[in-house]
């Protein structure tokens, strides 16, 4: 049974990395460490969240994130329900706020929400009494992804501070990029963004982050290479001419990777488009790829978040 020390993180919801204090981030990561060890045991069932109800409400298809949250809740002993969006009233025109109020009336203790529109999860959170975890809202944030990436880096490198991290690819549409940028900067890493100019956000210079449109220059001397999925489903208009050209310029190949430090760690939030943003050879390099570590850390980090957000409910225990 992992230790449950007092947490400085005392928020009602986890909607974004923006606004979190570094000690709150460190707190969640420390808490998650305990769950990493626990998850490697054969008896994974805890009773921390026994009696509590967790609803996973996913407006966008996602197998891995939803499964990760589902496992996290179940391992903590919560009753976990997945709301299937297709075929539900949501498709019949019910508004987000109506759905929120309907779910609220069922007295859940935690809602895990993914939505295709930026700000939608925060809007929903205004209309429920329980804890809400943002599992990705539009192009805004995906805070648990950034936390699991940070935990992966911390375990593989022993620290985050002082590392140079290149976030590469479709930064414009990526909530993963936004959350990671904010978290890694808050924890003292120096972050760079690498991508085609059409996939870097406007006014990026105000983010105080170096940007590169040349992949090799961007990877020069990096400790961590974080690849982003090319969000083809989100694209309106032509951002890049072709997948072939994108791979040539921005696909992570062994050759481009030579620009980074020899022991640079490779990360990807998944699901990967092999041959689009990453070469299979690189993704499968067990010495350098942390991609499966990220998946493992995901469950632990989500357990920590669920634990932290429901602590006030258990104070009387």
């Amino acid at each position: 049974m992992p230790e449950t020390p007092d947490l400085a993180f005392r928020r009602r919801h986890l909607l974004a990395i923006e606004g979190l204090h570094p000690f709150e981030i460190a707190d969640l990561l420390d808490c998650a460490e305990g769950y990493v060890a626990h998850n490697r045991k054969s008896d994974k069932k805890l009773s921390t969240l026994r009696g509590l109800t967790q609803i996973n409400l996913f407006y966008e298809n996602s197998t891995r994130t939803r499964t990760s949250f589902e496992l996290a809740g179940k391992r903590l002993g919560a009753d976990v329900v997945n709301m299937s969006v297709s075929g539900s009233s949501i498709k019949k025109g019910e508004t987000l706020i109506d759905t929120a109020m309907t779910l609220n009336a069922m007295h859940p203790d935690a809602l895990v929400v993914r939505h295709g529109e930026s700000g939608a999860v925060a809007l929903l959170a205004h209309h429920v009494r329980c804890a809400v975890i943002n599992a990705g809202d539009g192009s805004h944030e995906h805070p648990t992804q950034a936390l699991l990436d940070a935990l992966t880096i911390r375990r593989r490198r022993g620290r985050i501070e002082g590392l140079t991290v290149a976030i590469c690819g479709d930064v414009l549409h990526s909530r993963v990029a936004r959350s990671n940028l904010l978290l890694l900067q808050a924890m003292g890493a120096s972050v760079r963004l690498v991508g085609p100019p059409t996939l870097l956000p406007p006014a990026i210079e105000t983010f105080q982050v170096p940007t590169f449109t040349d992949m090799r220059e961007g990877l020069e001397g990096c400790d961590i290479v974080m690849m982003l999925r090319l969000q083809t489903e989100r694209m309106q208009g032509s951002f890049v001419p072709s997948v072939r050209e994108y791979f040539r310029l921005y696909g992570l190949t062994p050759d481009k990777l030579k620009a980074a430090k020899p022991d640079a760690l490779i990360m990807h939030p998944g699901p990967m488009n092999r041959g689009v943003e990453i070469d299979g050879v690189v993704a499968d390099d067990i010495d350098r790829s942390a991609i499966l570590d990220q998946v493992e850390m995901g469950v632990a980090v989500r357990m920590a978040c669920l634990d932290a957000l429901t602590r006030h409910l258990r104070d009387g225990d």
């Binding site: 923006e18 508004t95 987000l96 706020i97 939505h115 529109e117 930026s118 700000g119 939608a120 925060a122 809007l123 809202d137 539009g138 192009s139 805004h140 944030e141 909530r175 936004r178 956000p201 406007p202 006014a203 990026i204 105000t206 983010f207 309106q236």
Partner: protein, 425 residues
């Protein structure tokens, strides 16, 4: 019965009058005004208590929901809100459902409004059929039916050839073409101002350049055709500068802005506040300051509310899905008066773009305190502080961008043709 309004501060931007005195209304018209006014026998007398008496405001750009969006606003609620805001003439946009692109439809709206015997409602007509930007609407017939100007509402005429023909044709009829300047192909999908805030919030932006590039294209067409052109709303520094230079070159161009573009910037959108989602979007602070400067130096001719009623269900949505627009006809003057209280503009300079200037653009006989003019008047306290609240609004729609804001300047009474259409209780 004649009405004497005495003990008021008479404010008339058209004649630069700012002096204490009285004003006499007879037969719905202004019979005389000044320090000493002869009082006919049996005149009703109203003591203005030293408050400001100005021409009723002329709002160049409102939507009152009819036809097609009666659940959001109706002519009745719209004119009630206008009267409560001291507005005595409004121009209603044609981007209704169906659009006002046909003389019968235009006459219907005008007749509906006349029957209300309140604020004067002047319909715009569509510039192109179905607001589609392809084929000219029947401009001459629409003019006969009473159209005050032509516009496709929120949609810019994207096709340069269609716009050129529209300008030539409307120009010959002596009517104003009003273009909402936004290059649609560049703005497509954008929901707020492009920039650091949009990038942080993960929202698609409309670049400031989308506005000036449409204006610059149109200025070329104005030069080709010689027709009068009015940029419906300007929100950026570069657009203001383009208009300033065009005016210096002698082109017949004018432009307007809104109180929200004068008072607010893109930071209002923080927290995904859909009540700050407007077209054009609220811009960065340097742009806002440039628009204020444009108003001060006369580049920006008029201030209009762009009153766009939306029901709660259209706004309580994720930001990108929420409808554009805010109501504003009722708060037009109090928000504009911030320019007086905070920017040092004189009351006359604040009132000019709200009265005589917009009336002149549409060729309306309104917006003046002059003997013989219609007694369309507003009595207001320029200093009285109050708080804008949804509950306090008379409009059916409550989507104000100024909820909870403190403003100075309160309307006490409004007259149209000498009849009281609003009186604070």
């Amino acid at each position: 019965m004649p009405l004497l309004i005495r003990n008021v501060r008479l404010l008339d931007p058209a004649s630069n009058l700012d002096a204490g005195g009285s004003l006499l209304v007879e037969g719905g018209r202004i019979a005389s005004l000044g320090r000493e006014v002869p009082v006919p026998d049996g005149a009703e007398t109203l003591d203005g208590g030293g408050l400001c008496l100005a021409p009723g405001l002329v709002d160049l750009r409102v939507r009152f929901g009819e036809p097609g969006a009666e659940h959001k606003e109706r002519l009745e609620s719209g004119v009630r809100a206008a009267a409560a805001g001291g507005v005595t003439s409004v121009a209603v946009l044609p981007d209704t459902e169906p659009p006002i692109d046909d003389p019968a439809m235009l006459e219907f709206v005008a007749a509906r409004a006349r029957r209300l015997k309140s604020v004067k409602v002047h319909p715009y007509a569509a510039l192109t059929k179905g607001l589609a930007g392809k084929q000219l609407a029947e401009l001459a017939l629409l003019k006969e039916a009473g159209a005050v100007a032509f516009t496709d509402g929120d949609r810019a005429v994207a096709d340069a050839r269609v716009m050129r023909r529209a300008l030539s044709y409307a120009g010959a009829l002596g009517l104003l073409v009003v273009q909402p300047p936004e290059e649609p192909s560049l703005a497509e999908g954008g929901v707020m101002n492009e920039g650091a805030v949009a990038s942080r919030l993960g929202l698609a932006g409309v670049p400031a350049a989308a506005e000036v590039m449409m204006i610059e294209r149109d200025l070329r067409l104005v030069a080709l055709t010689g027709a009068r052109y009015h940029a419906a709303l300007v929100s950026t520094a570069e657009a203001v500068e383009a208009i300033r230079q065009a005016k210096a070159r002698g082109l017949p161009v004018t432009c307007a802005t809104t109180p929200h573009h004068l008072a607010l910037n893109e930071l209002e959108v923080e927290g995904y506040r859909t009540y700050a989602k407007v077209r054009p979007p609220l811009r960065a602070e340097p742009d806002r300051l440039a628009v204020v400067q444009g108003l001060k130096d006369g580049t920006v001719d008029a201030v209009c509310s762009d009153h766009t009623p939306q029901d709660q269900d259209s706004k309580r949505l994720p930001f990108a899905q929420a409808a554009f627009g805010v109501v504003g006809v009722e708060t037009l003057l109090p928000v504009a008066l911030k320019l007086h209280h905070e920017e040092g503009l004189s009351l006359l300079d604040v009132l000019r773009p709200l009265t005589v200037a917009p009336a002149g653009l549409l060729g309306l006989e309104a917006g003046r305190l002059a003997v013989g003019a219609a007694a369309d008047l507003v009595l207001f306290d320029s200093d009285a502080p109050w708080k804008i609240t949804e509950a306090g609004l008379s409009s059916l729609a409550k989507n104000t961008a100024f909820e909870g804001r403190l403003v100075q300047g309160r309307i006490e009474r409004t007259w149209v043709d000498g009849r009281t259409v609003f009186k604070r209780v």
